[in-house]
Symmetry: C2
Amino acid sequence: MSFLDSEFFQPLFEALKRDHPEDIRAATSAYNAADLAEFIESSIQDGDAGLKLLRLLSLEQQAKVFGYLGPDMQLVLARLIPNKELVTLVTAMSADERADFFNLLDENEQHALFQSLASREREDLRRLASFEEGTAGALMTSDYAMVSSGMSVAAALSLLRNTAPDKETIYQAYVIDKDHRLKGAISLRKLITSAPGAIVDTLMATGLVSARTHTGQEEVARLISRYDLLALPIIDDNERLVGIVTYDDAMDVAEAEATEDIHKGATVGRIDTSLKTASPFSLYRSRVQWLVILVFANIFTGAGIAYFEDIISSHIALLFFMPLLVASAGNAGAQSATLMVRGLATGDVSAKDWGRLLVKDIMVASGLGLTMAAAVMVVGIFRAGPEIALVVSITMVAVVLIGSVIGMLLPFLLAKLKFDPATASTPLITTIADVSGVLIYFSIATAILGL
Amino acid sequence: MSFLDSEFFQPLFEALKRDHPEDIRAATSAYNAADLAEFIESSIQDGDAGLKLLRLLSLEQQAKVFGYLGPDMQLVLARLIPNKELVTLVTAMSADERADFFNLLDENEQHALFQSLASREREDLRRLASFEEGTAGALMTSDYAMVSSGMSVAAALSLLRNTAPDKETIYQAYVIDKDHRLKGAISLRKLITSAPGAIVDTLMATGLVSARTHTGQEEVARLISRYDLLALPIIDDNERLVGIVTYDDAMDVAEAEATEDIHKGATVGRIDTSLKTASPFSLYRSRVQWLVILVFANIFTGAGIAYFEDIISSHIALLFFMPLLVASAGNAGAQSATLMVRGLATGDVSAKDWGRLLVKDIMVASGLGLTMAAAVMVVGIFRAGPEIALVVSITMVAVVLIGSVIGMLLPFLLAKLKFDPATASTPLITTIADVSGVLIYFSIATAILGL
């Protein structure tokens, strides 16, 4: 984050203070589009100032910076810009970012913008904006480079040269037949190192990895990462090429998905915007559901304690060890669950591995339980004598083993039942471990100490 | 994961069963290098079979597949291959993967391999293998494309064409001066669309984003993702270009870093290999440390309960509500901590935002506390009468607020003290919330109910 310190933006701040357009324009040239978007987002509270800065950039740069802005800021600025200017800006944006922006607008705004666009952009937008959020269709761009089957290398190169300005990438060109079906791909590297007269079909890579428009964005990101692709071609149900997803979008998806999984691991639901700009109410809404569910789940733990009131009353020293025993079960369970949930998410482990992993988890948890029992045994003897120390040590081994196994199995069970394995969050595992820990502890205590 | 089902590999399995080299070779052509590596890793237990499959591939494909293999499998195979064959294979690998592999070998093996390499690879390896794990230097490759300052577009294109086979990417060529200092970058897109006689210096992009050899790999991945780069140039302390890190390596780093953060969030330490192949002992070692620390931390909770033994004995019904109150504090705290830790990791929030976020967290937590207090009030009245219900409700608001604020502040405090904010794991927050929850609950109970 250090590179985003205000020091980094100091020259721009000063130019804005002097308020000379030429000065400001000169200052902006030292920054990338992503930086300028960050600056507009974080340093300029009112939209007018952001707009002023944006207008000083070239149209190409404007479109790039606008694409990097978050949805909230995009809306603020769009509502300040006259329709004609907005149309120019939107036309200059890349097709996928244009579609994302379009989906933010309300119906009237969409209609107004739509009417003013040239028919080519209109058609394109109609198609791209129609795909469901979170799918390859919603993520892809239609600005891909293509050449026709049967073309020579020279013709392909000349085509790429001429269409380059409008394409997201020309480093991978897709070879299509007359029905727009994907036949293969040829890299620009291959094109510039091949004989000009050669036919692209003889040089292209075939058996391409591709995805469908309805493929989930997580899977799209995984394919791009797994096969180290520059872009993943997206085909429709008639095998026709309709778009590509580029690696930079895949990186953004992978980051967003990791964030979502991390949040889920602590029972935080989906937050559509950044943490910094999220409203208190939207944060409340993303957090309240599981907290309330877990309040009720924890009543069982209370009921468990109430059930054992007699043994607790007669050996009140048992209470001293209760928190550390149930917490240990929960902690061990949280570790196992987290390992499995992440392993399943990255594809490092798959559903069929559960048996082998269970055996390993039992070995690991036994080792952990014995280590922790030894630690707690010492405390137990000093604090409450050998009898209670024995109860506490046996309980520790049992609850760590059971907590860990529950934590390990639950993600697989959830996956089997078609739920998201990430639902096996640490707070949920902790709650389950609390209930079972209390029951196990006081049962063992009753058995050994009597009433 | 579905695409990695055994069905996907069925043709290859069958070809291996028939055991005809030509058959097997034909079957492998349907798979990408990443797939074949996965197949060797997961389906073939003994190294000999993996080696047999590997040897049927072209040298180029061999080097690619070998690069995709995990460190364990690389070592198994390397130890089965005669030195001469290994040298050929290693020479065909990309420079960065070669250096990573080299660092796995023991000293004798390194020496043997080193002696047999051609001097160019030797020099390169000596430099790349010397950088500390986790830095840009260790991640970068020296197979970058470069052109000299002052060259014409035609000369640059011809140079790229001739050197293409040895380069990781030629889509971004770096312009260097006679002292090998980085002056700018020119994309292949720009080169093929510019006049052949133009000088690259007039066309190149300047003010490049770059990193130093000692920059952390997390920062490298963040820069590549933030600026949507194909590759990030790496310079040494004399401003000379020494390598590049490409987007595909950045994606791998981002995934590994996210996994590490997710594991840390549940107090699981670093695991060097995959979960599937990790030994029980290495898993034990990655998990035991925090579990034992937290056992001792939880003694404070026990001590807290012991301190309030009198009020508990006289109002044993209070125990029923203890688990859900302390758990709620922990859960709310875990949510806040997780939001902050991830926000800091992605750069979504920065250290200086803590004040604004604290205000927001207090608002959110108050809302959550009131909602949960209402839920528990109903249970309290039915279960234990209005007086205890009052105690429980007041406690709920207090502990959720305090738990959440502790969870929110701790990551910032850790960052300030130069610790990793991710140390604010859910189990740690839960433990802190347990201790404070118990103290607050029974203090409020004593105040309202008397002894």
